[in-house]
């Protein structure tokens, strides 16, 4: 008998929208099944149904059985499953833990309340669990509060808590998406060991095909609430049968094998290397000082050069100072030390006058990470572009409008999006609006700060193609900030690696990936999941 058996699962919202169109999938004991798909594919809803976590007043059809028990039938059965059969690990560990209780409380809660274990015995078990997820000091962690632990450590605590009831099935909903790539690889290692040692089955939800391929035995690919393909992980990734899977695999950037878009890159690179430098950063530094605390060095003496028309990537994990560097270059932060020259003009000090401010904006523009937050919610797409045109080009009225429509169309949107509020646009569409807005000024240098990391892979591929096209046509210089080496490889010919505010390695991207010199670069490259 299968551990998890989902058969023809359908789910309708009371509004009449059908989220799931007959999902069928199985997880055998000891097997790891990856559930992959883009946002809106229904993978999370499917996974949540295993523990009976359904939207309010949803209408469910089909059957779900965990070890023969249904989580959808009655409250008693659901409780039985949640206590003994299956456990779940969510995406954001900090959102799922009570900040007022200690780590020990969290891990032992299920044992004390459901199994009536005495405190001492539960505590001993908790130490055992925290050791199993390889936390450095299990005994000390028991009395710590969540704010004292990093995101990666907290996710291990959540896994330990989920394992406290010795479930036979573990459901993980994007458990590493909010974490750095090196932390992700450690967590994945822990999960892999736990499954092997306890013979536990796992349903692993992710949007990352490479991660799913490296961890899972079988993959189930979902799109729009239906399963489009399933099979052994390597087979699905190497010889996808469904058209959608093929597109998804093609859109997923990799750090090995032939790189998509490398022709564009090298063509642009030969042109670029001949010309003069567009951006020169020499010895720029930024230290945050707060009264009564040790100063935090966000960026320590960073130096880099991008020739006109070139593309440089800055790679690093959270806290590496890559975003601070970008913010100094566009003028959102003032550098404490060093010089930042864009197009031969020093921009390291804050602009004093209106003329200075406008001149600087004409030189450097930026596309921000989160397209959901970087557009003013009240301002329609077209108006956002028009505002910029009015400020910088002196166009107004119908002239500004027709130019704005041109720009909107140039980034692949239609005239119908002109009057659309950001709320009604998808993530990819919003990011296109942000790019159109940045290009409206006609900048020499474009800074993209994690500009594609909030997007689905297929949308990310489209946006990256768009940026490559603009670079080719307009000779734009690009500074690309990212945590994702595979994406960087698609876009930039040069890369620098940052760690804790310092540049540890710099060089041509391919060479850096093939032959990393610094230990940290090597660690980053090894942490990127790759299907075995």
């Amino acid at each position: 008998m299968n551990l998890l058996e989902i058969r023809d699962l359908t789910l309708d919202l009371p509004t009449g929208i059908r989220l799931l169109h007959g999902i069928t999938l199985q997880v055998a004991p000891g097997e790891t099944v990856g559930l992959v798909g883009e946002s809106g594919s229904g993978k999370s809803v499917t996974a949540r149904s295993v523990l009976g976590l359904l939207p309010d007043r949803a209408v469910v059809g089909g059957t779900v059985a965990v070890n023969g028990r249904s989580p959808l039938a009655d409250a008693a059965g659901r409780q039985q499953i949640r206590r003994h059969e299956a456990a779940m690990v969510f995406q954001d560990p900090r959102a799922g833990i009570n900040p007022m209780r200690t780590i020990g409380d969290h891990v032992t809660e299920a044992l004390r309340l459901c199994e009536d274990w005495p405190a001492a015995r539960a505590r001993a078990k908790a130490v055992e669990l925290l050791t199993a997820v390889r936390l450095p000091a299990p005994r000390e962690h028991l009395d710590q509060h969540p704010h004292e632990l990093s995101g990666g450590m907290l996710q291990r605590v959540m896994i330990a808590g989920a394992l406290s009831a010795s479930p036979k099935l573990l459901v993980c909903d994007e458990p590493t998406t909010a974490l750095d790539v090196t932390t992700q690889s450690e967590i994945v290692q822990v999960l892999r060991e736990l499954c092997a040692n306890n013979g536990m089955g796992m349903l692993f939800i992710t949007h990352d095909l490479n991660l799913a391929g490296s961890l899972c035995d079988r993959l189930v690919v979902m799109k729009d609430g239906a399963v489009v393909e399933e099979g052994p992980a390597l087979r699905v990734l190497r010889e996808p049968e469904a058209e959608y899977t093929r597109r998804l695999v093609a859109a997923t950037p990799r750090i090995t094998g032939p790189a998509a878009g490398s022709d564009d890159r090298s063509a642009a690179a030969t042109e670029a290397s001949a010309s003069e430098p567009e951006l020169v950063v020499s010895g720029a530094g930024k230290t945050y000082r707060r009264r009564g605390r040790t100063p935090v060095v966000a960026v320590a003496s960073a130096s880099l050069t991008i020739p006109r028309g070139g593309a440089l990537a800055v790679v690093g994990e959270s806290g590496s100072g890559k975003s601070t560097l970008a913010r100094m270059i566009v003028g959102l932060e003032e550098a404490d030390a060093g010089e930042i020259m864009v197009g031969g003009v020093d921009v390291s000090r804050a602009s004093r006058s209106r003329a200075e401010r406008l001149a600087r904006a004409k030189r450097v523009q930026m596309v921000f990470q989160d397209p959901y937050l970087s557009l003013d919610p009240r301002i329609p797409a077209g108006r956002a572009v028009e505002d910029v045109l009015r400020l910088h080009t002196g166009l107004s009225g119908p002239a500004a409008r027709s130019r704005a429509i041109e720009l909107i169309q140039a980034v692949g949107l239609g005239e119908e999006h002109f009057a659309a509020r950001p709320r009604t646009l998808s993530g990819g569409q919003r990011q296109r609006v942000a790019i159109a807005r940045a290009l409206a000024i006609g900048p020499e240098l474009l800074v993209m700060d994690e500009a594609t990391s909030a997007l689905d892979v297929s949308v990310q591929a489209q946006v990256l193609d768009l940026v490559a096209g603009i670079r080719r046509e307009q000779g734009l210089t690009l500074l690309f900030i990212s945590h994702d080496l595979a994406v960087v490889r698609r876009v930039c010919e040069e890369t620098i690696v940052m760690r804790r505010g310092e540049i540890v390695e710099a060089g041509p991207t391919e060479q850096l990936l093939r032959d990393p010199q610094h230990a940290y670069t090597r660690l980053l490259i090894d942490s990127v999941p790759a299907p075995a």
Binding site: S44, A178, S318, G331, L358, A361, D370, P377, R378, I379
Partner: protein, 288 residues
Amino acid sequence: MTSSTPTLAIRVLRAPRRPRPRLLYWTAVVVLAVITLAATLAPMLAPDDPDAVDFMSFLAPPSPAHWLGTDSLGRDILSRIIWGGRTALIGPLAVVVFSTIIGILLGLWAGWRGGWVDAALSRVFDVLFAFPSLLIAIMAVALFGKGLWAPVIAMSIAYAPFVARLTRSLVAAERTRPYVSAYRVQGFGGAWIALRRVLPNVTPIVGAQSTLNFGYVLAELAGLSFLGLGVQAPTADWGAMINEAQSGVAAGQLLPAIAPAIAVVLSVVAVNIIGEELSDRIGGENPA
């Protein structure tokens, strides 16, 4: 690499629950509309002149001639309530408008500039919070004399800090949002961003909160009239009517005091229901 992209599952869980019964809200709207209409059309609607004295009936019980009876001076109570609605509504309206304008501007200044401006203004608000609004109003009456406008100005000043504090916290949160950084990178000036872009984004929430003040101010202004510090006789006013009729209550003459009191309660409750519904709707929409 946190992505705040709402996934489908989250969006579904966030979907609004069953809309609460709108009956209460619409009743409140109708009640307030009736009161407002009656007050504006008072010359046409009121059966009698509110100040006309009927020497034939003092403290008369309800009758076809006087639907709610007469007061101790023989004036028609229904007419006085209808006319009294004018001062009862215009005062709080003025207070809400003035306090919102003052509060939004000061709150925007404090929240946008931060630093010492914020610190100084916040302390000023703290001091104003320390005084009950009624006390400020009484001081204003002592300074400027009785009537409608001295208490209105005092109340506007007393209520402005509530609006300012809310605006300040909203603006301070808004200021750190990426869309504001995006405007800066595009070369827009701080004043333009604050007044043209951030202000309109916080105004709906602040406005909805301000409507809630309407009810409190109405009750407090009626209280001032009751104390004899607000609108002066013989102008019809609900608070003043309760005051004039209170001696009769002991003697069993309930209606002259109860009728205007019911008018106060009805309008305060109606305004609060509408205000709460408005702030729910606007707050639930996620302003940014």
